[in-house]
Symmetry: C2
Subunit: 63 residues, 2 copies
């Protein structure tokens, strides 16, 4: 599952913890999506992460 | 949650049952996503529906 989160997070100079606080998504989920350990997530989670990064879901979920 | 499924399904002259069989997603979920009764779904469900319609997820999930 191609989630493009780490690139945008690092470009915004955010740690996983920072992004977790900003998005309301747990650090474990962010870490899992970035590493590929979590393949399936929900549209709600993607929206929260995308908004926190100032992106659209289509920017961070490349399918 | 803006899911653009009905338009593509009808353009492909598919019933909800047809799309359910093609995608492996239940008709109830397809109906719910089209009507807005189901707001949150999974990336896996979106990929199955998009593929069955010959589209990308970004075509059917406008966020």
């Amino acid at each position: 599952m191609p989630y493009k989160i780490r690139e945008f997070r690092q470009a915004a100079d955010l740690s996983q913890d920072d992004l977790a606080k900003l998005s309301g998504v747990s650090r474990a989920t962010i870490c899992g999506l970035e590493s590929g350990n979590i393949e399936v997530t929900t549209t709600e989670t993607l929206i929260k992460i995308a908004r926190a990064l100032g992106k659209n879901v289509s920017d961070i979920f490349l399918m």
